[in-house]
Subunit: 266 residues, 3 copies
Amino acid sequence: MDNQVFSEVFSRAREHHPLVHHITNYVTVNDCANITICAGGAPVMADAREEAGEMAGFAGALVLNIGTLNPGIIESMICAGKAANDHKIPIILDPVGAGATRLRTESTLRLLDELAIAIIKGNAGEIGVLAGADAKVRGVDFAGINGDPVDIARTFARDTGITVVMSGPTDIITDGKRILLVENGHPVMGRISGTGCMASSVTGVCAAVSTDRVTAAATALAAFGLAGERAAEKSRGPGSFRPALFDEMAALTAKDVVTGARVKTA
Amino acid sequence: MDNQVFSEVFSRAREHHPLVHHITNYVTVNDCANITICAGGAPVMADAREEAGEMAGFAGALVLNIGTLNPGIIESMICAGKAANDHKIPIILDPVGAGATRLRTESTLRLLDELAIAIIKGNAGEIGVLAGADAKVRGVDFAGINGDPVDIARTFARDTGITVVMSGPTDIITDGKRILLVENGHPVMGRISGTGCMASSVTGVCAAVSTDRVTAAATALAAFGLAGERAAEKSRGPGSFRPALFDEMAALTAKDVVTGARVKTA
Amino acid sequence: MDNQVFSEVFSRAREHHPLVHHITNYVTVNDCANITICAGGAPVMADAREEAGEMAGFAGALVLNIGTLNPGIIESMICAGKAANDHKIPIILDPVGAGATRLRTESTLRLLDELAIAIIKGNAGEIGVLAGADAKVRGVDFAGINGDPVDIARTFARDTGITVVMSGPTDIITDGKRILLVENGHPVMGRISGTGCMASSVTGVCAAVSTDRVTAAATALAAFGLAGERAAEKSRGPGSFRPALFDEMAALTAKDVVTGARVKTA
């Protein structure tokens, strides 16, 4: 595939420094803030109902991540999401652990019902459960799916009108019509906490500067995966991998994206 | 002492990847998640009352850490703890700062009263205060104890039926009958935030795969301390020590535990 | 300028290990805890209304940071702040994002109204908005100010009786009479999340051991900036910069402060 389109989105993020508003979990929030900066964005985290909508109105994208949800946080997400919808700001939803508990599944379904989500990004278990497939989630990790993941993702995207990112060794990105497969990444990314959340943040950065959701998501996952590949080469284990991941994400150039992105159509 | 028993628990954690549910503080939660992975477990953090019990029911161990407690979090801990008790899942309690404020002391006493705790891990000040000894806590740090720490820990364990881990340069582990002393560790571990919390997480990983609480706790503290010793050799200060600690914990082998654990009976 | 006075404050922090109580945001709280330790202090984070005042009463300084504020947290800040005022403990206020949303601006004004703040530290946008100048904040970042920053800071300090730290490439510190300019620091400090928050924590450490607010703040910013300069030399990007920053802060000596602080009077 011609990677020029991805490198253009990538460069645009670096030029425009979009403000990316997050309502996210307190486990990986610091990683999300830092990877947003490394990807070219300006992160802001504001989860009080009293300001979440106002802050979202200033942002280029809104990332909602339910990793440590509670009913109050979901209300703030609804407030921020409605403001984002009113301002035509794309919302990226990361339904962490949907399928593991009723609260997570039902809260995600409520967000999908009340808000116009641009991109939903989850593992095959989370997306599978939401799509009504026979899928399993253990804690916040993928634990199995019956059926073809590409078919499940495509049907879910077609039925909802949402661009679906099903993360895994190969990431599946689809709006129901187009399907892109991103093969960048490294296994060590699954051995630290937060790479999934960070991928959503980078997707927010890219979606803030591109109205083509599929391209924005593919740019984010290819670039982040590429940074992960390079960081893996320079680290001794999961501990040293993390600082290296931020270094590589910050050092990544548009040219690196052209030469290194491994994206194909399905 | 024959370290074979510790290396077996250590290996079992790596094989079984137990889910370790945490309700913990927002200061060191990311470290807890990552060290859990490095020790072989799968971390999940879910503190909403609406799901804490449900999530605990799926887990292999439950870690309760009151580092940034509030009354709502304590209710969630009670919910999760009751579910853990119902499912015979071991609870590890880290009473951070008990003795420093009334809220911390009283909340810990309530958790001890309403839940069947498997292992309590604290510094000599925290354990001392809870045991009714003349002990002091300053902020969240040990500030002094009168009396013999081993006696205080043993009596507290005997009276409560809880396995007690009193952390320090030498960690004291006792169920009121057996007493193990773990000498692994390095002073730099006291110069970063979160090593105490991380030790509790690793204890959760080990307790999930061993019904012998004393052995599980000794395995955790010896392995974590050993990783700390090795990380200290490879780092220049507390900043570089932290990534090295995760690297070394992830790289540690059962054989390393056999040769490196320094555990003796008192 | 003779740097002896700064090196003395710096040394005193290392000797006295002051307890620094934080009510701060969950994005950068771990960094705040660790930099406090590296600067010689003992961090404690306790934000429940039920204990915030009690904990503040034991501390050497109280750092209030509104990065992820909500109405409940503001109440806890008021409780802790009143206890700090009663005990003559200095309060350092970091009004993160004041000017960006009504909640942030109004909450800051309420804290300024109800508490006796010793030092307020913000970027030129935040301080400018609070001073009534024509200033802008985008998310949590400085976005512009009309007028002379030194004049605005000095007038604000004079009118309020609060020592003002306006952070930037050159930090401006003033109590309305004296003005110090600190030129230490490195641009990469603006490329990671949390350096502003960490600067406030280090200011808390220094304010706990010096009643001269201007000197305390200048010591903190010079020492922290100096650590940043050294860390920048030893790192490859923002990811490796962070552990290096903690290493360098921990390794910094009083002699380094004498030779390296770049502070001048305006």
